[in-house]
């Protein structure tokens, strides 16, 4: 009986894969083609402790394969640069620099977006299970952490987009707080 059920499951999953005209590899290779560039972002954070959401806006610049600059303009200027494993944050004339090698869970967290931008499936699958829905013009990729340390921080990341362009990144944290990032490319392509 159990064996039957199991076989059924395997078949079902195979069927799903077979029917999906659009798969993770396709998405990733499409994203990997992306040459990088500048984008406007709006980030909305909903925190249980606050009575209303916080909204930050600014610009992001991605330079493949491993540099991401996030320049927040409102409500308060701040620049974050993620370069390889080094995060530098500049705020109020103060500079902080953190090596993420000492914080693997934080690295996996910030790496989720960078690896998605880079279309690096192997790196993503180290820490997350990937699930893709939709089609090439309107896809949704869901990352669910497999690592206990990351799961303690994060329930899932939902990324949506069309073709090789990401539109939104939605972080749902373990404590129910969430952060929604909407991205709009600045450079004509």
């Amino acid at each position: 009986m159990i064996r039957h059920l199991f076989t059924g499951l395997v078949l079902a999953s195979l069927a799903v894969t077979a029917h999906a005209a659009f798969n993770v590899d396709q998405l990733m290779s499409g994203l990997a083609q992306h040459k990088g560039g500048r984008a406007k972002f709006v980030e909305k954070r909903t925190l249980a402790v606050l009575d209303r959401p916080l909204v930050a806006t600014g610009e992001m610049t991605y330079t493949p394969p491993d540099r991401l600059e996030k320049r927040t303009l409102t409500p308060k200027p701040e620049t974050m640069v993620l370069d390889k494993n080094q995060v530098s944050i500049e705020r109020d004339k103060r500079k902080y620099s953190i090596s993420l090698t000492s914080r693997p869970e934080a690295l996996a967290f910030v790496d989720s977006i960078r690896n998605t931008l880079a279309g690096n499936r192997a790196a993503l699958e180290k820490n997350y299970t990937l699930q893709l829905d939709g089609n090439n013009d309107n896809w949704v990729l869901t990352l669910t952490p497999t690592e206990q340390k990351i799961a303690a921080l994060l329930q899932r990341i939902t990324i949506s987009g069309s073709e090789d362009q990401i539109h939104t990144i939605d972080y749902l944290l373990a404590d129910g707080d969430r952060s929604e990032l909407t991205i709009e490319p600045l450079d004509p392509r």
Binding site: V49, K70, M80, V87, K93, T101, S102, P104
Partner: protein, 779 residues
């Protein structure tokens, strides 16, 4: 033996016993104070205290290598547990999350005493509004992740303030939750010993314990192929002591064995051989006694110099036995003693010049050698004759006589080539004079290149670069030192804001003065008042005041909290930081504030003038440590040039007064000066890194070599140079070359430099004196 001989022997024995008693109770040391200035400036004193007693001198860096990352992390934790349990270690850090969390909890618990942002203004309605709205803005940023869990306890963001201020310096990387090297291949630990850095025994014990515990940890984990690497000032001290101890024994034995072999070959008599060693033993003992009585501590390197002293001090007995045989004692005293005495005096001038050096090691070498040579000469003159008796015949083989005279004639034909060679040497030295001498103190260090490289690697991995720029404040007690550090910090803060410096550390960051803590505590409002102000401050805020009960509770707890003291920090990383930066010396306390460079265009340098301007008018002292060490060595070098010149002038004056003839003076000096030039040019050409001790060696070539030149001068004085005299000179020169030559084998740079200079120098002095000796020699 005659009654007089017995009396002499008895007196000598008593003197030796007294000397042995002094040596027995002497303190021997191999530590770095050999190199540290005897009369330091205020800035140098800070560095000396730091090197000898500072927390930094008690730090040992450990690296676990081999195996896989998980094994290394496991062993790092195991080793941490084992070492932390031992009373020999004050603090053991391996970056483990538990201890990091403990440090963070400590900061969180005491944030209202520790945070520099805590002022009465911060707790007004406007202050709260600004601080809390800043925290909320921060929540919207990536850095906000850090703050979020603490928002309701710490809405003004004191923890962020503290962490931002404290850990601005780079942290070591981490793999599997413990510190690791940047490439991830080594797990790292940082250990502070209870033993002081200057307590070499304590350091040795601590290092042995670490090795023992790591071996046990490796065994119990059952893993193969893992190794422990260790470095730090304590290890250098232990290794340096072992090297010096080993070399003192080894070099003395080599030198003694070779000299005994030569002497036995010449004397063919065990009794005369033993008698010859009497002045040597007396000299070596007297040297140590004099140093012990004058300085209180005898450096191992000084004792190591004994191997050279043996070679030099045995000369007098050689002259006595070889020359007095045919002449008889009285005739020898009349004819040869004045020459020997003059030689002793020139040696005394040379070694005596070193006594005035501010470099303690050099002054000791001077006193040791001076006393040794003088004692050996006196024992030869007054003790040896009655003990030896009158009928001593040292065989002088006729064949040897012929060979020596033939050699002498041969040497005389080399005058022009010798002059040509010497001129070439002088020209070379003239051309190279600016790059002859190594300009830094590391040239004298006993630390091997491999050990230094390992140390540098571990230091880079642990991100603990040696702080180059320091601001130092002194005060009579800890509290006053912390207050002074806070005042200096206030002058440095604008420099950080202007980007002149990247930041600075201060013991007051980790442990503010009681005054400051009390002021911060006094500025905290009561719960009702805080509640009222929060309501007013947060009217338009997304964070409502009624969620901040934890904040009000924490502030109230802080108001009732006792002030923090050093004991509250325990053995944490914070305690380590305070201990490294707060130093109790003989004359009170000093606080160190290492400055971090701003980076960018300026790289690792700091605009020194701007820092000095900011500190002007305060009692804070700004020190560029690298500059200080370079200046220290520069002072030593400068002084050594001066002293060598003075010693040389003293020898010249002595010779002029004794010889009463400028021509004879020139005859004695010329070969010596040529020998010095040839040796230094030769060493530099051979790639030897010339330093201070080579320079001193130049003076010693003149001081020691003049002994032989003076015998040749006897010809110019009308005396003949018979075979026995020639033989005694040849043997004496051989023993001296053996003595100094043995030092050249040493891996201790101080000893090696003297040996490699004076050994060949003495030989050249003899040969060149022969080359330029007058012709009136009976065949």
């Amino acid at each position: 033996m005659t009654p007089r001989a017995w009396r002499t022997l008895l007196l000598w024995l008593l003197a030796m016993l007294a000397g042995a008693a002094v040596v027995w109770s002497s303190r021997f040391s191999t530590d770095i104070s050999f190199f540290l200035p005897a009369h330091p400036t205020v800035a140098q004193q800070v560095l000396v205290d730091q090197l000898k007693e500072g927390a930094v001198s008690r730090l040992l860096m450990l690296a676990v290598e081999g195996g896989d990352a998980a094994q290394r992390a496991g062993l790092s934790r195991e080793l941490h547990t084992r070492l932390a349990a031992l009373p020999e270690f004050v603090s053991v850090q391996n970056g483990d999350a538990r201890s990091e969390d403990a440090a963070r909890d400590f900061l969180l618990r005491h944030r209202y005493l520790l945070s520099p942002a805590v002022t009465p203004e911060r707790f007004t309605v406007d202050g709260l509004k600004a601080a809390i709205s800043n925290s909320i803005d921060l929540l919207a940023s990536p850095a906000g992740m850090l703050l979020k869990p603490y928002l309701t306890r710490d809405p003004t963001g004191e923890l962020v303030e503290l962490l931002g201020g404290l850990s601005a310096g780079a942290q070591p990387a981490s793999v599997d939750g413990v510190w690791a090297s940047h490439d991830g291949q080594r797990a790292l630990l940082l250990v502070q010993t209870r033993a002081l850095g200057s307590d070499t025994d304590g350091q040795e014990k601590a290092i042995a314990l670490i090795r023992e515990q790591s071996a046990a940890a490796f065994r119990s984990a059952g893993v193969q192929g893992l190794t422990l690497q260790l470095s730090g000032p304590g290890l250098f001290a232990v290794k340096s002591r072992a090297t010096i101890k080993r070399e003192v024994t080894r070099l003395s034995l080599i030198s003694l064995a070779a000299i005994v072999a030569v002497l036995f070959f010449v004397y063919r008599s065990p009794r005369i051989l033993l008698l010859s060693l009497l002045p040597v033993a007396s000299g070596a003992l007297a040297g140590i006694v004099a140093v012990s009585l004058a300085y209180g501590t005898v450096y191992g390197i000084t004792v190591g110099f004994g191997s050279a002293l043996i070679g030099e001090a045995v000369d007098y007995a050689i002259y006595y036995f070889v020359q007095s045989g045919r002449l008889g004692l009285d005739s020898w005293r009349q004819r040869f003693w004045p020459t020997i005495r003059l030689g002793v005096l020139t040696s005394v001038c040379g070694f005596g010049a070193l006594l005035f050096s501010g470099f303690p090691g050099l002054a000791q070498l001077g006193l040791y050698s001076l006393t040794g040579v003088l004692t050996a000469a006196l024992v030869t003159r007054f003790v040896l004759p009655p003990l030896a008796g009158s009928n001593i015949q040292i065989p002088v083989p006729a064949r040897l006589g012929l060979a020596l005279h033939a050699g002498l004639r041969q040497l005389r034909t080399l005058r022009w080539p010798a002059i040509g060679l010497a001129l070439a040497a002088f020209t070379y030295l003239g051309a190279q004079r600016d790059q002859l001498w190594l300009p830094n103190l590391s040239a004298l260090s006993t630390v091997s290149a491999a050990d230094a490289a390992l140390d540098a690697r571990l230091r880079a991995d642990l991100s603990t670069p040696a702080a180059r720029y320091l601001v130092v404040v002194a005060a009579p007690d800890r509290e006053a030192a912390l207050q002074a550090a806070e005042r200096a910090g206030q002058r440095l803060d604008p420099l950080v804001a202007d980007g002149v410096i990247g930041g600075y550390d201060s013991p007051a960051h980790f442990l503010p003065s009681a005054t400051t803590q009390a002021a911060r505590r006094a500025g905290l409002p009561s719960p009702d008042e805080l509640q009222r102000r929060l309501q007013a401050a947060l009217v338009d805020s997304p964070l409502s005041a009624n969620k901040l009960a934890p904040f009000i509770a924490d502030v109230e707890a802080a108001r009732r909290q006792p002030l923090l003291g050093r004991h509250d920090l325990g053995g944490s990383g914070l305690a380590l930081a305070v201990d490294s930066l707060l130093l109790q010396g003989a004359n009170g306390w000093s606080a160190l504030l290492p400055l971090r460079p701003a980076g960018g265009e300026q790289g690792v340098d700091i605009r020194v003038a701007a820092v000095r301007a900011a500190l002007a008018g305060s009692d804070a002292l700004f020190i560029d440590t690298k500059g200080q060490f370079d200046a220290l060595y520069g002072d030593y070098l400068h002084q050594a040039v001066w002293l060598s010149t003075a010693g040389f002038v003293a020898i010249v004056v002595l010779l002029l007064v004794s010889l009463r003839s400028p021509r004879r003076l020139a005859g004695v000096l010329l070969p010596l000066v040529m020998a010095v030039a040839l040796v230094i040019a030769g060493l530099h050409l051979a790639g030897e890194r010339l330093q201070l001790l080579h320079l001193v060696g130049m003076l010693l070539i003149v001081a020691v070599g003049s002994n032989y030149a003076l015998f040749f001068d006897r010809i110019a004085g009308g005396a003949s140079l018979d075979t026995a005299t020639l033989m005694s000179m040849a043997v004496a020169a051989t023993t001296t070359v053996i003595g100094f030559g043995t030092l050249a084998l040493s891996s201790v740079p101080v000893l090696h430099a003297v040996g490699v200079t004076v050994g060949p120098g003495a030989l050249l002095a003899l040969l060149l004196s022969a080359v330029f000796a007058s012709r009136e020699v009976p065949a």
